[in-house]
């Protein structure tokens, strides 16, 4: 069965794409594999693409926040892209703090944001 998430490494960037039907077991597998891959490939930034996720539950929210905090501890910046309006409203209601991460509208804007940081010779962007 296809996994409800996918990891891609583009040069210095790890791209994580999350699908709608991700369940709690998949989430913890996603966190583990993301952290391991980020370390192995020594990436500078991780982009988490949420544009296919309409509904965010508290478990997913706290785990994404946890992933961002872990990446920050490994000196890797993280960027969440493509959050939808209902998801944003839910996240605000949950009050999950995303201190260690930045946000962008979509993948393209996310890459631009990282590009801006790299241009400024800041090789480790978005550290909380």
């Amino acid at each position: 069965m296809a996994e409800p998430f996918a990891l891609f490494v583009l040069e210095d960037i790890l791209l994580i794409s999350i699908q709608e039907d991700i369940d709690d077991r998949d989430i913890s597998r996603l966190i583990d594999r993301s952290l391991v891959t980020a370390k192995e490939k020594s990436v500078v930034a991780v982009i988490i693409d949420m544009q296919n996720v309409d509904v965010v539950d508290s478990y997913l929210a706290s785990n994404i926040s946890h992933l961002a905090a872990s990446l920050s501890a490994m000196e890797i910046g993280s960027l969440i892209v493509g959050l939808k309006v209902p998801a944003v409203m839910t996240l605000l209601d949950f009050g999950v703090s995303f201190e260690h991460t930045d946000f962008a509208l979509d993948l393209e804007q996310g890459l631009k944001k990282i590009g801006r940081c790299i241009e400024k010779k800041d090789s480790r962007p978005f550290l909380g």
Partner: protein, 289 residues
């Protein structure tokens, strides 16, 4: 008893007058025996005064309070004063709403010998009152609808989201912000961000007269929401008065970009947009160079 007997039905001018009155009047003694009744009173239950004379009033008139503690004659006699109220008169399976007034009747020596009861059919009046009430309710409902409509209109007017530049939205807030308005403004802003894919949002509060802790939190929540969407919010138009309030309230403004004027915010956003290049471009350049 003599005094009542003197006014027996069909006798004298006074009884003519009493019979001419269009509402019901009857007199009972202390044992509820009808001593006298006028034509209108008897006609209300389809009788003539002659039928009713010397019979118990509860045999002639059937109401829920007859032969109970609530009997108006009994009450009037007990209180030694006027007793009024409303009830229904049951007649041939129908209920006629009536209003009554009773007063104890005294003889020349001043002792209570019975009771005078006056009653009128109020079906028409109740019907009219019902219609008036209905109309009032309709009016109120219509007014409420109008007010709600106006409120919606004001909300619509007061939270415009403007595209001022490619990728830059402006949300000028005018007037007092309550939770409801703040929520609507936030939703509309988020929808606009998603639709226009704008990476900057300028929230201008020049038109907000005062800020309290609640309003400040609404603004901060809107900025947080924009950040989660991936758009950077710039707050402008903080008046000296509001600045003082914010300082006093100890609101965290540290991680919020603030500019004095909308112009400064536009400059900041446009410069940032012009300087932004994709990470892939940078990488390509790095690889090429």
């Amino acid at each position: 008893m003599k005094e009542i007997a003197e006014f027996s039905p069909n006798e004298g001018f006074l009884s003519e007058i009493i019979n001419a009155i269009p509402s019901g009047i009857f007199v009972t003694d202390r044992e509820n025996t009808i001593m006298m009744i006028n034509k209108a009173g008897a006609a209300m239950v389809g009788r003539t005064p002659g039928d009713c004379f010397d019979r118990k009033c509860y045999e002639i008139f059937d109401t829920p309070m007859c032969q109970t503690e609530a009997c108006t004659c009994r009450k009037a006699i007990e209180k030694e004063s006027v007793n009024t109220g409303q009830t229904v008169l049951r007649l041939a399976g129908k209920e006629i709403p009536i209003e009554y007034a009773s007063r104890p009747l005294r003889n020349l020596e001043g002792e209570i010998i019975g009771c005078v009861e006056h009653f009128i059919d109020i079906s028409d009046r109740l019907e009219k009152e019902r219609i008036i009430l209905e109309q009032q309710e309709q009016l109120l409902k219509k007014r409420e609808e109008d007010i709600r409509h106006l409120q919606d209109e004001i909300l619509e007017l007061s939270t415009p989201v403007i595209e001022v530049w490619d990728g830059i939205l402006a949300l000028p807030l005018v007037g007092t912000l309550d939770s409801h308005r703040a929520k609507i403004a936030m939703e509309r802003l988020l929808e606009a961000i998603e639709r226009t894919r704008s990476s900057f949002v300028i929230i201008d509060i020049t038109g907000v007269p005062t800020v309290d802790a609640e309003v400040a939190n609404h603004i901060i929540q809107t900025i947080d929401a924009a950040r989660l969407m991936g758009s950077e919010a710039i707050l402008t138009g903080i008046s000296p008065h509001i600045a003082r309030t914010i300082a006093k309230l100890d609101v965290r403004l540290g991680d919020i970009t603030v500019r004095g004027r909308m112009t400064d915010a536009l400059h900041l956003a446009i410069n940032a947009l012009n300087s932004s290049r994709s990470a892939l471009d940078t990488l390509k350049k790095d690889l090429g160079g």
